[in-house]
Subunit: 521 residues, 2 copies
């Protein structure tokens, strides 16, 4: 422990002297951010530094609660205004008896009771390098388990290829690599790459390609036992079987399998190891709520955000048609999603208004089904992971928890494409389920007969959210600096749109900036 | 559930009529083995079919206990002779206070108490397609969680390359793929592959390669954010950073990273999803022992295996210098590892003796360390997975369980190379730990200071085992058929050496063959 304590001690000393922003910069300079202290929570404000100061926090999602947690520890008086009757924002786990609402209706979650019968309808995974959120998990004692993206038993499905039959990820990945290795070996064996490679590297590259693609002695790809054996046998068993024929390369090229699906887990945010809280993603939201819930005024819909001589004045209404309230504070941290924020009366500067207007949110969709048995495990040896289809449902997720239980909850559609999202958004909840079942049936014949209950979430139609995440990759500059005493947070103020890490980091940045201002006074 | 029940019902009906071997063949014919009924336990012998028959089972490992479990359910009278004082065989989990023995000494496991402080010194993972073992896990209620092979935060280390500094799997994998894609694109952009590809496929292949390797518009690989950002930043955070420079291709080619390590998780047996029992691999052995422990005579060292008019006669000694006992039975199932079996007096046919002599076992080594903190998670965001080094320790495994706890147990060496294994085998336990710490220090500077306790297991020196697994890929034919009334089991009688699945499958085969013989009488 000693090495860490001294490093952390140093950073705490810097923090006490100059504030958390300086700590963050020190850590960056030391190359520590996200690696050396991957899950240390670094926003430790000096104790008492906020005494006598008040902060109005708009939104009790991950950003708002993170800000309240850090500020209140330093003595700031925090009030969180939350429009909904629950905390967590887009961090949402559906369980038996829950009611999930959209602007024009409500769905009751008809799952059975069971600690494995839930669906994370918002964020569902935490990349290993999201050290801020992981740090809070550690600090709050939120148990973690592995979330599985890459399951070679899962399926790739394209209606136009391979007679419309799903093929295993295992076959697609090994066969494509085999062909790539064969073609490159052919080129290297010839002379066309001689100018690009030394003789020595050429020899080593050939050796590598033979292993990379499992090529034969003639540098040809004729299938590999990495893909499994003939007749659907998946392992050698008592006597090793024969290699199966590889999939046709031209068909693979004509499929959409290689369009990001093939290397999905190579994207930094989808890289293994991915983690998830045991028991549902909302375990994190609940852990925050336990600590800052007393600061939250639920069903408090913000109607005006004003600059005031003191700092900020927030006008809000308590529930539908309820009383109007006013909250004055020295500062505000606003995590209200841009599509909602843009319609709230405000005193923002023109650049701020323009920035808010510029942020579009994705109309993402998730549909979850409870099934009467875990047919994916029982019939296909699929333990967690994702199947892909070229149909609108896009993906089927098998739960990476509750293995071998009697039943389970799968994600029957996860859509982020705008056109498809809007198509589902326009349907009634019943129609969404019907379509998702019909499409799922083409991936898993018999699917319809397995399903017992379903729920959908069209984020574009969720009150006080109006979307799943900002579609841009970077936040507008105006959302990363204060407008008067008003600071912005949420994933929309980070370069990690759609990730809780972005929400928490932006909250840290806002908290640090407020504290520097206070301490500088 | 209906679809399964009827399928299973059909198979049980076949089983009742003609025995489990027929069921297995029916399942093969139906293409069901290992896929459709991936985790159904299929060795359901007809009830009562073994009444009045006795079986001597030699060895209470996974094979012996599987055989006893299935036979006893069918009415066979089973006796298991186990040389050690525990069941499980190579299925071994080390915990605080355990004593693990080798031929010339004993080590006490000095770990602290804690449900996350254990090391699986034998098998540690279960591939998703090992349906027999997974079936028993389901039947016995053994909880499962994910075992992680592929962790992109884990390290590749070669003393001769990259200044001897470990580099992340993420960088190695993305950079090698980038270069491969670039080189192949160069060849395709030229004319050298024109004869191998249609114009249409050529165009699609180029599009694929751009995605596969994340090539730029000129089809060059200049690094990818899949590998992370400059200055050790692992995610975009508040503002996306700059791409880091890729590793030098020539250095990558000169390293040993691409020698099976690069595609380790593509091997069928190492494919995700891998599973492990919650709480340690011996949970499986204990679940079997709960069911068949009453049949086991512990500390019963077999000294003679004889053919008798009744069937078999086994002579054994109860413990060291203990009394000699005799066990007569209609049949025997022998799962004693070949290196031990070959020295036991027997009446085997010459081909059987030759087969047993021919099976060599690997002198594999595992070394486990308890550490004072989880430095891999705290300092490197490594959650489970494996780092590779060209040093003798070969691998460091980070525990895929107990995330974020205060301390943990890592595997500090996992060696299967014969020469290296024998080198470690020849050392004292203290010397093994010293070497493993010294080498680990080169992968993780500060390693030595983190370690609190260690234990090693040199399987070649374990009494009644004399090795970790058969080095051949297929079992000799003579071990897959009976010699008189003596049947063979264990992984050595399967084409899955080193896997519990092979042990259980071979046990099923022996059980099925005995039952067919009995029912045929």
């Amino acid at each position: 422990m000693k090495a860490t304590i001294s490093k952390r001690g140093f950073l705490q000393a810097v923090g006490a002297a100059v504030g958390v922003g300086a700590v963050y910069r020190s850590m960056q300079a030391l190359g520590l951010v996200s690696t050396e202290v991957a899950h240390e929570v670094w926003a430790d404000l000096p104790r008492g530094s906020g005494e006598g100061k008040s902060v109005a926090i708009l939104g009790a999602g991950i950003a708002g609660m993170t800000a309240a947690y850090e500020l209140s520890k330093a003595g700031y008086r925090c009030t969180i205004l939350e429009a909904a009757d629950r905390a967590g924002g887009r961090n949402l786990t559906a369980r038996a008896g829950d009611v999930v609402g959209e602007v024009d209706g409500r769905q009751r979650v008809n799952f059975s009771e069971g600690d494995h019968l839930y669906a994370n309808l918002g964020p569902a995974r935490i990349p290993y390098h999201h050290g801020t959120i992981l740090g809070y998990c550690k600090e709050f004692g939120v148990g973690l388990e592995v979330f599985t993206n890459d399951n070679r038993a899962a399926l790739f499905h394209n209606r136009e290829r391979f007679d419309g039959r799903p093929v295993s990820a295992r076959r697609v990945i090994t066969d494509i690599r085999g062909y790539i290795a064969e073609l490159l070996a052919k080129a290297v064996d010839g002379t066309s790459l001689d100018s690009a490679l030394t003789v020595e590297d050429k020899e080593r590259l050939l050796q590598m390609l033979v292993q990379y693609g499992d090529l034969n002695a003639d540098h040809l790809y004729k299938g590999t036992k990495r893909g499994g054996y003939r007749d659907g046998r998946l392992n050698a068993g008592l006597k090793a079987g024969e290699l199966d024929d590889p999939l046709d390369f031209s068909d693979l090229l004509k499929s959409d399998f290689w369009e990001y699906k093939l290397h999905f887990d190579d994207f930094l945010d989808q890289n293994p190891t991915l983690l998830q809280p045991v028991g549902g993603m909302d375990t994190i939201a609940k852990a925050f709520e336990e600590r800052v819930g007393s600061f939250v005024r639920y069903r408090s819909v913000v109607e005006e955000i004003r600059k005031s001589p003191k700092g900020v004045r927030i006008v809000y209404r308590s529930g539908l048609g309820g009383a109007v309230g006013t909250l004055d504070a020295d500062f505000a941290i606003c995590s209200i999603p841009a599509p909602v924020l843009k319609d709230i009366q405000n005193d923002f500067a023109p650049e701020t208004k323009a920035a808010i207007e510029s942020v579009a949110f994705a109309p993402a969709i998730k549909i979850a089904f409870q099934t009467r048995r875990r047919f994916w495990e029982e019939d296909h040896a699929i333990y967690g992971g994702i199947s892909w289809t070229d149909q609108d449902i896009t993906q089927i997720w098998y739960p990476p928890y509750g293995y071998h239980r009697d039943n389970g909850v799968i994600v029957g559609a996860y859509v982020w494409n705008k056109d498809i999202g809007l198509r589902f958004e326009g349907m009634s909840p019943e129609e969404r389920l019907r379509v998702a079942i019909e499409e799922g049936e083409r991936v898993h014949p018999g699917y319809a007969g397995e399903i017992e209950a379903g729920v959908s979430r069209a984020w574009g139609k969720v009150p006080f959210q109006k979307g799943a995440w900002p579609t841009g990759k970077e936040a507008p500059a105006a959302l990363q600096r204060p407008d008067g005493a008003i600071y912005f947070a949420g994933d929309q103020a980070s370069a990690l749109p759609g990730w809780q890490e972005g929400a928490a980091l932006a909250a840290h940045a806002a908290v640090a900036a407020i504290n520097e201002r206070v301490m500088g006074k």
